[in-house]
């Protein structure tokens, strides 16, 4: 019972506030033994992924099948975390709030369900991806300050490097000034996934939405990105990523 009463502080520097961390010497011992027998796997040339040059983009293609299996496990993990323990969902939402506050978003609505977990997974990837992409651009790297510029960066540079194709469309919402729609006719992550009818409002491309959101946040365009299925006869997996910018972004855009 005491576990549930203590507040969950995900990134606290104080270990006694963190859940499930035993106090004093026990974790220290564990980390010592872990470092002596490394779990890292090496290829035959004894070079891990960390030994490669960051700029290496040749032969960097990965197996789609392995990704599909890995992503399938992530979806199942997200499902279990949400439906299994309700308490845990609250913690995840809290975790998410911390991330958002840290990146400057103060007004947002928290989606319910397990797509938030997938979104979070994507968020952590997007944060690193932005840095990597800008680093790879080298001297031609540019700091995007306009909404259209950053959206162009996402639909071309980001999409090309991750999915090897540009996004299929970018539209501005007619009703709301602060909403943009990024269209992907067949998101790579969900190409093998059929969502059951009873969960049809959920979309596994929430993962990609998380990546986009992290990139926007990282460039100081605080926003909420959500994935929505819009199936058509030609493209049954068509997904629209709804990008809703924070007020501050629009105010800045007006000044620029």
């Amino acid at each position: 019972m005491s576990r549930q009463e203590t507040p969950f502080v995900p990134f606290s520097p104080n270990p006694s506030l963190q859940q499930g961390t035993p106090t004093s010497t026990a974790p220290l011992k564990h980390s010592l033994t872990a470092s002596s027998t490394s779990n890292l796997r090496y290829s035959s040339s004894r070079k891990s992924i960390y030994d490669r040059h960051l700029n290496r983009s040749q032969r960097s293609e990965l197996s789609k099948a392995s990704f599909a299996f890995l992503f399938g496990e992530m979806v199942q993990y997200a499902q279990k975390r949400v439906s299994g323990i309700q308490d845990l969902e609250k913690k995840l939402v809290l975790n998410f709030t911390v991330v958002l506050i840290a990146t400057g978003v103060t007004q947002f609505d928290i989606p319910q369900g397990w797509d938030i977990v997938l979104n979070l997974h994507g968020y952590t990837i997007g944060q690193r991806l932005l840095e990597l992409l800008l680093w790879r651009d080298g001297r031609s790297a540019k700091r995007e300050t306009r909404i259209l510029g950053i959206l162009q960066f996402i639909t071309t540079t980001l999409y090309r490097s991750v999915f090897n194709k540009p996004a299929d469309g970018l539209e501005k919402s007619r009703d709301n000034e602060d909403e943009y729609m990024l269209i992907d006719n067949d998101p790579m992550v969900s190409s093998y996934i059929s969502v059951p009818k009873e969960m049809s409002q959920l979309n596994c491309a929430a993962f990609v939405a998380g990546i986009i959101e992290a990139v926007l946040d990282g460039c100081l365009f605080p926003s909420r990105v959500t994935a929505h299925s819009v199936p058509t006869d030609q493209y049954p997996g068509k997904t629209v990523f709804l990008i809703k910018f924070d007020e501050s972004v629009l105010e800045r855009e007006a000044v620029l």
Partner: protein
């Protein structure tokens, strides 16, 4: 010429998928399909035992005047049954492709529970897209 029907059996002999591709087929009740699958599973086990060749994989093809039935068993024991017209060519290619579609759209779908009936919309769609032009 053409494919009449495709059935998929799990390793316990339960029917997990059934679909007809020919309008003229007489429909069985869903219970009868289950019985058919169970019976075939038993017959397949018997044929693999009574075969004079050691290590036989069991019944593979059955031909009659009106249809030809091809059975393909995967390493994990899942069986694919394909009923086709008697002189359908390249049926082994079709079986391989159906197996591929199964591996892609069923096994890589996180919402599919293993050994349970297949309800994957993407599998249905892609199977139909593959079979229909060949009818």
């Amino acid at each position: 010429m053409g494919i009449l029907s495709i059935l998929i059996l799990n390793k316990a002999g339960g029917l997990i998928y059934q679909r007809d591709f020919n309008e003229g087929l007489k429909k069985l009740s869903s219970n009868d399909y289950l019985v058919l699958a169970g019976t075939f599973h038993g017959v397949h086990a018997i044929t693999s035992r009574i075969s004079p060749v050691p290590g036989s994989g069991g019944l593979e093809v059955m031909e009659s005047e009106h249809f030809r039935m091809q059975c393909f068993q995967t390493l994990t024991g899942t069986k694919f049954l394909i009923f086709a017209q008697p002189h359908q060519p390249n049926i082994d290619v079709i079986v391989k492709r159906v197996y591929e579609l199964y591996a892609d759209y069923v096994m890589k779908n996180p919402f599919y529970q293993i050994e349970m009936p297949i309800r994957c919309e993407a599998f249905d769609r892609n199977l139909l897209a593959y079979i229909q032009p060949r009818q």
